[in-house]
């Protein structure tokens, strides 16, 4: 957090049918709908998040991810980061306050992998859902489905990982927590963090720009992962893989798809990171184990990514 970027604050996901999508993200994942806007976008949050929303669904003709936003610690940090981006040669776009309801101004930019990111300092503070800020109970009653705890990270696919690394690490103050290196030493995957989490955003090399692999939500326990897998089956939801463990980060995971074809992850556990930790390296020739620690091979579906 050395430059003031705190955490993944939101992700805007395109869905083909809003009704089906809202049902998926609320009934199955257990997110809470908090608002809708004039454009028809639906705002959702996970229960442990203190801000008003972390997921925005937008109805569109194609699934995918519009942008991912990071919350920074205050307006001063936002100004400095904006300046640092511009100084570094990154083109920034101003998104005015309230373009997303109850969210302050956003500084938007696209990185060379073709993905759009935003920084913002303000969003309406609504507190954790279902628990008081005084004498809070351990967890709220009345959660649905998987009871997702928080929006956690996004994995993108695209080219130019080195240039993306420079922006995140040198300009925005992220750290490289984990990486995959090919035999020539080229980094073909990078897991970046601004916190104790093993990744706040991650990139895997892909020829085409702007690909979206998955948005991920945190669960408390391995038992919650099992029950999530059960719910995937009970609701006849399309599963990708899991329950299993990743080699990278060692998180315990399931991948599945929303009704529009966007991949979701729910996971628990995983390693932790401090700024003085040396990056963990996985060899590209062992990518199967790096991604799916138990099977040690990639399934074909894993390779499918959205535009």
């Amino acid at each position: 957090m050395k430059k003031g970027v705190m955490r993944p604050g939101h992700v805007q996901i395109r869905v083909l049918d809003m009704g089906e999508a809202v049902k998926h993200y609320t009934d199955l994942l257990g997110l809470i709908e908090t608002d809708r806007d004039d454009q028809g976008r639906v705002y959702l949050k996970a229960w442990s998040e203190v801000d008003k929303f972390s997921v925005v669904l937008r109805e569109a003709d194609e699934p995918g991810c519009d942008f991912m936003g990071f919350k920074v610690v205050d307006e001063a940090a936002l100004n400095q980061l904006e300046k640092d981006l511009v100084d570094y040669g990154v083109e920034v776009e101003q998104v005015p306050a309230e373009e997303l309801k109850d969210c302050g101004r956003r500084v938007r930019f696209t990185v060379p992998s073709g993905h759009a990111f935003e920084l913002y300092a303000d969003k309406k503070y609504t507190g954790k859902w279902g628990v008081s800020s005084v004498n809070p109970e351990a967890w709220p009653r009345g959660l649905q489905g998987m009871k997702a705890v928080r929006f956690d990270h996004v994995l993108f696919y695209g080219p130019e990982l080195a240039a993306v690394y420079d922006i995140f690490v040198n300009v925005l103050g992220f750290y490289l927590a984990e990486q995959v290196l090919d035999p020539e030493g080229t980094r073909v995957a990078q897991f970046l963090t601004v916190s104790m989490k093993e990744h706040d955003v991650a990139f895997i090399h892909h020829e085409e720009k702007g690909k979206f692999h998955h948005a991920s939500f945190f669960l408390d326990t391995w038992e919650a992962v099992l029950r999530s897998a059960d719910l995937i089956s009970m609701t006849d939801t399309s599963i990708d893989i899991g329950p299993t463990r990743h080699g990278l980060t060692h998180g315990q995971t399931i991948y599945f798809f929303d009704p529009s074809g966007n991949r979701n992850e729910v996971f628990c556990g995983g390693d932790y990171h401090y700024p003085d930790h040396k990056p963990i390296t996985w060899k590209a020739e062992d990518l199967g184990k790096a991604i799916f620690y138990h099977d040690r091979v990639l399934n074909e579906r894993f390779l499918t990514v959205l535009t």
Copy 2:
């Protein structure tokens, strides 16, 4: 247990290389070697079992299962069961006491699916491994690997399931806990129990006689299943599938292979059975979900069975 059959007491498994096999079943599964005999067979048990052994490894040119044995409550029950088998028209073979060390006489017979079973009433009582019978601790320290709790059941593949059912249910006093029925109502899988467990032995229809699918070992918890999957990866052991849940029995499972190609299962959880429970039915057209509840498709490897 209405006819006195208590539980799966042992299974004899053929292995290609005894050294590798013993390492697999002790270091990885966590069984304890308890003896060896003149034939070179190695005797193993899981820690919570009170008798001297439950797994016998025999070096051979082909992997597979020689026979499975059930312990009956006493010699009177053994005599009666033997008589009932003969009366029913099943050919029985006498295996004298001490053919397996510290095991009493065994009554051996082959069922129409081509699998050999045994009944016996006596085996040396050694008590649980590593815990006292007075003021016993919750679990023994010093267990290896997966820390398997007990030998649990075997799944066989073969023809003539109806005839096999008659012997187990009508002669030996087993109950049908779960079944798979094809659209014509033919039972293509049967899970049989003499206890509260959802299966003590199971059969899936297969054209060829005498096929062996897996021998299964019980674990305490879903977390133990995860750690077992981790160990499979750490030891570069061949995995089949998992961690996942079965639809049939709802147990939480991993399938993997010993160095000879015999499939092992470790699992936890699962439903329970009482004699008045009506059988659970899965439809053959939903066999994918019945076997692998999360993926809802059979992997190709599942279909591989040994002679």
Copy 3:
């Protein structure tokens, strides 16, 4: 199950206020109300049970347990057990069919510790709650609170344990799974089973007759025990002790009280029993550890029992 007694089938508990009691057993424990009768009694079951009810609440001026009933395998077994009780000198009382709704005739008797038990062979088969008998899902959605899996056992306090033992073991076909022996070798606690469970009913020595310690309900996992403890706190329910583990049976447990002062237990795990298992012995001088394995001392509340 050698004499045909299968399992604890029901317990009738006295409560001071039916409304509060029903709320406790449904909202908190997660039992399902299945019926009420002309006497105002309320019938409840846990979701995995196949019969119509397992808990009957009766409003009364004092809390406590009226009787505990065991289901036997069929009418023939019931007749034989009734005859065996009478032959042994136990006075039996006939309770006609439908005295409990949808329950067949019951054979009631009181053992020398002062506790009333019943045997019955028939109860309306309603199947598991919330899951189909064809292609059943892993668990039902819509369960409340602790999501108790099944009524499991009762612990009574009273005198004359040896005489009670004779009836349960020699007449009814139970097995002694665990015991506490004082330095003179007198059994001061006995845990009796007719199944693979470590206890279906248990007795601890007490000078006064007919005392009721707790009725117990099974949970799936140690995490379910944690969440149950959380719910106890969230609902401001009176707790006795836990989460902890018992030494006896090694189950993982919480004790708490219903609004009338009846002690409930929810627990998971624990050892298993087969008829050839020698009884586990705990020494009376180590009773603290035998009861509460972690604290190794009895809390004062544990000693409180109801008339």
Copy 4:
């Protein structure tokens, strides 16, 4: 981490008998001994820590805590923090490099509650114990006992909490994550963090200066907490309380004592913190539930603290 303080880096604990203490912290907690020095001090670390040691044991006539050290991100941050402390009026002491083996210079100071703290920027980087930095396995084989994952935090008792708050928050860049307020609004407990953890150090009001409540170690799961409690019993170690959950932080915990009487905690779970999170408040009149969420009363032993 806005001022560069990263994490609790070490704690020096006084023990009465070094042999017994090392056995306790290695065999039971599962720490790894990494070195000893000329003064006879023993250095230990938990497996997931990348630096050489996090616990230093010093033999002395009285148990207790000598000091707690925080690692800062680099020498520049250390210099600035030192200057800021001095400017604020805190007396600092220089401890030269190698006074603790393989540790750089430390800046030591005592806060008004009477507790000694240190800041340092360098310690020998040895990497995680038992796993490679390339293709790392999920966890190391060969860990002992509780398999503690990391040294996590310390809880101190003492006066002048407001003055301590000022130093930690205003000078060192910590955040107030949780607090207990008495009816007059006076803060009687403060949980301070420089990371996503709900506390890196905590203080509870006490009349006497410099009291030590416990040093805490992180575990992966609630099942690990259970097994730790089991091990406490198996090794006849003195337990304080647990397994249970805290209200404050919602972590799942056990308190127990080392052979010298120092209280240890092992715990898992708990909430997370970001700099924009408002502090969680517990009311002093609900301190029982705040500390022990399930029992909702303080046990007497909890109030015992060491000089």
